[in-house]
Symmetry: C2
Subunit: 369 residues, 2 copies
């Protein structure tokens, strides 16, 4: 193997494929990056079996070949090189030589034949969506996946195409995060992607209007970003029928400024850290909402202007869930819909109808304060 | 106690005094910040006995008084308040009330009488130096203090005033860091400040030409920055006679570009991580220096242009020590002076004569490669 390529391109490709290398695999070869040089390009692959990332760069290939190089060492060597052309070639004794200007390094390589082959996916049933938009949808749902493995399917995010809409859904028994965007696609798709791999994918997606092409197979999803391809295993099993959980009707509805509400809840939650309950109480009144918390640390009372449609209500929440979703929403005004003090609360943007969040309240004993 | 002050000023004062609160003290009251309101100002104090920081802010004091508040909780509450006036007042049941716009918080306070008193220092023998300059001198020496406690005096930085110069010196048995600046002061002072407290002081010093006034007592040093005062305990004992360690003569001397040399050593050191030796070899030739390393991971060879005065030499170093000092120096060109392959190497700026670094080489068996 022998090729010459640009340091900056190689560094970017390495940094992308490294996102799949978790170091948790028991196969030593998966600590490495597979390099395959032929036909004027070099393909780099990083994988932990569940997630595989492939990046291609153009190169001047003088001799075809493939090797596996320790991901960390190879990445650090390339990163510290000057911004210039890098020559990588096979050397004696199972090693490869890296030359850049006056820098020479020789490192041992592993055998590329030991590297597992990626699932072979034919990209014929493709749908496309803007990278920026998908990245935003992922960010808006991943935080709500279940952290414990009691129900493995809930550690993933549902990708659903239905009625020309792409829906992403995550839920963990205490809350639901639902994001939806129209797509020009008639297929009906239902796949659950592990939350961990999805958060790596979201790091690779760029804040650009350029599209990512997505292909589903029974066991995998492929994100094709042009020079980079990401393949994730799907979770097996049926996702929960989320639509039956989210209440469609409500008795009262408030409109509030998102960042103001977030600040009030964050301040009140400082007193609610005790015993990890994070309990904050909402006292919804005409034009006003009082948020209180109370613990051995002290007491907090916050007041925020709201617009109320319906009757006053008292309700309590684990502030953590509200803080997480209010941080992720991006509209200035939000709407919260309530049925009673023990029924779920639904949070939406005031203007755009592209997200629905649901949070379960915490039951509290009725008091007079 | 009752006063009103600006949130931003209070937050800055809290963040400064918190730098002294390590949470390692066994006295619960030292987890707190002492607030003392009187005469139109509020004094805040944080301390772990070794290091005490006092910050004063102007306030509208309606009722004198003093309390101790949990540093973390109080700090977080203030930080999350809107940028506005904050009213802090004593409340019933050993608690204080914090009011800002529509936010109310009540937190328990500790008794200010339990708070240890700070050493009483009369600021009559003062010398002054620009904050920026002192901060830079600290940064240029602290990294070289001894990390282990075998010789406690070496965990500190020597502050020495001699011949109208302020010298800061740190050494750990493998290297010496020496910074010197002229000061308009005739006194003769010799004090050793714990490295840990000094690194907190350096965070408080600002990148400004405004001066800091420094007072020494037999057991303490006081840094007076106007609104903030920092008092550190001194280490007991004699510092090592550093001047006899730093060689004044040399047989050969090279001049090199600092950042280029740093990059070469960093790249070579990637192969030298094994067994924590960080061993890199320098082969100093006419016009050229070859830096090599060699381990089971692989080999590296770097070449850098130099100007050599004297005879060629082979010498080896623990790259960690050279990397740390080259990162901290700020001139473009540096000079290294050598006597032999087993004698210390001295590193200086090429132009400015304000720093001297010394590093011991690692003895290696002579080889022919």
């Amino acid at each position: 193997m022998k090729f010459i390529c640009e340091k900056s391109m190689l560094q970017e490709a390495i940094s992308n494929v490294q996102k799949a290398i978790t170091g948790k695999s028991t196969m030593p070869v998966l600590q490495g990056i597979l390099l395959d040089a032929r036909n004027g390009e070099v393909t780099l692959i990083g994988s932990d079996i569940d997630l595989s990332i492939e990046a291609k760069i153009t190169a001047d290939v003088m001799e075809d070949g493939s090797v596996v190089l320790d991901s960390k060492l190879f990445g650090e060597i390339i990163r510290k090189l000057p911004n210039s052309a890098v020559e990588i070639s096979s050397d004696e004794n199972n090693s490869i030589k890296i030359v850049c200007q006056k820098s020479y390094a020789t490192i041992i390589h592993m055998d590329s034949e030991d590297y597992p082959s990626l699932p072979d996916i034919i990209e014929n049933m493709v749908f496309s969506i803007s990278q920026k938009l998908l990245k935003n949808m992922m960010k808006g749902t991943i935080f709500a996946v279940a952290q414990d493995e009691t129900r493995p399917i809930l550690t993933g995010v549902l990708f659903e195409i239905k009625n020309k809409k792409l829906n992403l859904v995550a839920l963990d028994g205490y809350r639901v995060a639902f994001r939806s965007e129209p797509v020009d696609n008639d297929s009906s798709i239902n796949a659950v992607i592990p939350g961990k791999t999805l958060s790596e994918v979201s790091k690779i997606l760029e804040e650009t209007d350029e599209v990512v092409n997505i292909t589903f197979t029974p066991n995998h999803i492929l994100f094709n970003l042009g020079k980079t391809k990401v393949i994730s295993r799907l979770l097996e099993g049926e996702f929960i029928k989320y639509s039956s959980i989210i209440p469609e009707e409500y008795n009262l509805k408030i409109t509030a400024k998102r960042s103001e509400l977030l600040n009030c809840i964050e301040r009140a939650s400082l007193m609610a850290k005790e015993g990890n309950t994070n309990l904050v109480k909402f006292n919804i009144e005409e034009d006003n909402m009082i948020i209180t918390s109370n613990s051995q640390l002290g007491k907090a009372r916050e007041e925020i202007n709201i617009i109320l449609q319906g009757e006053p209500l008292q309700i309590a929440f684990n502030s953590k869930y509200l803080i997480e979703l209010l941080k992720i929403m991006d509209e200035e005004e939000i709407v919260m819909e309530f049925s009673s003090g023990v029924n779920p609360c639904v949070v939406r943007n005031k203007e755009k109808d592209n997200c629905t969040y649901m949070v379960l309240p915490v039951r509290i004993r009725a008091t007079n304060n």
